[in-house]
Symmetry: C2
Subunit: 468 residues, 2 copies
Amino acid sequence: MREDDPAIENIAVPSVRDADGAIAPDFRAAAEAAVEGEDRAALKTLIAGLHEADLGDLIESLHPDARPRLIELLGADFDFTALTELDETVRVEILQQLKPWTVAERIRDLDSDDAVYILEDLDEDEKNNILKYIPAPERVALQRSLDYPEESAGRRMQTEFIAVPPFWTVGRTIDYMRETEDLPETFYEIFVVDPAYRLIGSVPLDKLLRTRRAVLLTAVKTDQRHVVTASDDQEDVARLFEHYNLVSAPVVDEAGRLVGVITIDDVVDVIQEEADEDLRAMAGVGSDEELSDSVAYTARGRLPWLVVNLGTAFLAAFIIALFTGTIEKMVALAVLMPIVASMGGNAANQTMTVAVRALATKDLGSHNARRVVLREVLVGLCNGVFLAVLLGIAAAAWFSNPQLGGVIAAALVVNMLAAGLFGILIPLAIHKLKLDPAVASGVFVTTVTDSVGFFTFLGFASIWFSYL
Amino acid sequence: MREDDPAIENIAVPSVRDADGAIAPDFRAAAEAAVEGEDRAALKTLIAGLHEADLGDLIESLHPDARPRLIELLGADFDFTALTELDETVRVEILQQLKPWTVAERIRDLDSDDAVYILEDLDEDEKNNILKYIPAPERVALQRSLDYPEESAGRRMQTEFIAVPPFWTVGRTIDYMRETEDLPETFYEIFVVDPAYRLIGSVPLDKLLRTRRAVLLTAVKTDQRHVVTASDDQEDVARLFEHYNLVSAPVVDEAGRLVGVITIDDVVDVIQEEADEDLRAMAGVGSDEELSDSVAYTARGRLPWLVVNLGTAFLAAFIIALFTGTIEKMVALAVLMPIVASMGGNAANQTMTVAVRALATKDLGSHNARRVVLREVLVGLCNGVFLAVLLGIAAAAWFSNPQLGGVIAAALVVNMLAAGLFGILIPLAIHKLKLDPAVASGVFVTTVTDSVGFFTFLGFASIWFSYL
């Protein structure tokens, strides 16, 4: 709250971001100088009023050695929430360099979801080394969240929430909130529970504020139709939030007892990650690859897909090898054949992209699969015929051979049909097998369009030759 | 609120969704029968307590003719918010079949952002035909939102919000909210404004609830660091929400006056759309293509990218044509050449995908471009060398020709290097020109890897022949 504090306002602090939106070089240099000179006061002034997200970006922009030193220098003035904004690799590296008891001391101040987020990527030993410095009740709560599977609601939930009995009035609830010190940092609804902590309903804050003090909570509570179970997958939770425009949702355990609350800010990250994962999976990039990863790690992560592609490329080569006799008769075929394969690959990629995303968002399912398959095949046919005319004329003109133009045009129509058909059928089939269509579809689909493309073009050419 | 209403609870209503999460066929059939038989009571029972999002899905699952009939039959019991959940094509089709004054009457009840969302895709005449039935003050407010550019914050904002003067206390503010009927449907913060409606600060509801009645709002308001201008692009707004974990943000006009509020539920849709757009743009699919679009519309939308690809495929063919003499000497070259091009294309696609997303999320910028380019080139080199060994051995074994293995291995290393280099440089250059790298990168990058792949492999082969 800079404007209330003229002492801070009057010191010249370089602006945080440059025109690109990245951390400004001047600002980074000032931070580096302060860390270098161990000038705690200067550093504190510099980061005063900085949002945790900006603080995170600043840390990422620093030299790896300077990062833990900045955190140690700031001590209690460093908000550990900023660590949740870092790339995983950077966060783990920093945590390994800080003293376990410092980390333990400081993550106790955080909301439990942030503490879990910081701890979860460490290995078992490192995690326990930190947890042992945390007092029993808090440790048990963190441990319970960490025991839920990765990418589950239990990992993302915050165990701090407000739960009150149904016989309370609006007035009593408001008084309770005014008098209690240890409330969650932000919250959007309060929960009504029975003595066994089973969820009865919830009251959004705007409704609480609009209701007179004497009214009972049971009279204003909304039914809790959107309840998350701690073991639910985070993607399903994201889908629920998106579909019903939620801002927060209660999380219950297997016995139906309220154990936490999950809020939209966590879900926004999941939505973003999920869309990114589809994009990366289709390109054969690992979902955990980050810009800060090393060359060796990145190269190893991308290799498997390239090896698979090498295999499928050989398959296409074998098909060409069936027709070496045909190519020897007319080398123009070798010149033109990649065009048919490439066009099919592109068309299939269009269809597949639409299919993969529609499956992910559940817009595509058994109820409309038949219609969408038919649509894709017809789209392939339409564009196939149009492009075949262009390609046929161009090829005929180039090699002064109208029949060659006819052969390539026919092959293109067939390959574009195959692209539409397999571009949609393959993701649907993979989805039916409960696998992720984004990961595997690409390999199969381009194998099909390459193979069909070379086979039809060279095959049609050899039939044509046999009639010459 | 079904559980409070035993009359509704006791009627057997088929469950809304099947195991896949799609609208259950039984439920759809029941709705269709009710519409067919004009049985308003049955339809009302069926959709009682249905969330607007589920109601939207139900409408989309119906036959196009049944959709407006369901809405007319339900009359005032149909929540027009459900229309915001539909695909654009479906929504426009329905609106064109409803009477303009019915639409006008019903969208008056909605929050302004929903009303604008429903109106914005209609053409000018249709829009004005509806607007003329809306009383002047509301019409002017809607018109003002509609006058902001498409995909701007002004279009997404809600013009209903709570703004109070700074000299009010917490108690007076709560009393005001209890006494005022016409408040926004949901809100997360109240705004403090001066007499000219210029923003002074805001108070989140949780803070308001925790503060004693006598306290002045100026004492609890937080500085408004995250203010949106109505003309801001919705993507920039989404980035702001994501970065700072916001739930709502005030929107001001050019003069700094508070004109609306933008909330996270609108932003979640934007985040989702934006990631989708990148994915589609890279595959050459229009960002507005929807699963419900017709074959002709879809085919036309996908054609431009395919025509561009036809051009670049010809470029690759011209390069092959330079080497027909070489291919005639050894037809095995024609068999193997697509492998080199395909591997380069895949590696470039990996690099490009990472680059495009990192540019979109501002993780990649001038501050780290040099390091990332170097990383990508080295990744290309590492994987290139590894895969070249595999490919070289396989090719040498297949054609019993070790020298051919050497030629293809050397060509692959060069093409993988080119893939890494151009896979990152091309998106960076396009971004520098203020264009969207997702749209244009794909064409250029695969053109480079195809051309370099064919040229190096066939070129190295002809050099090798000249030494034979």
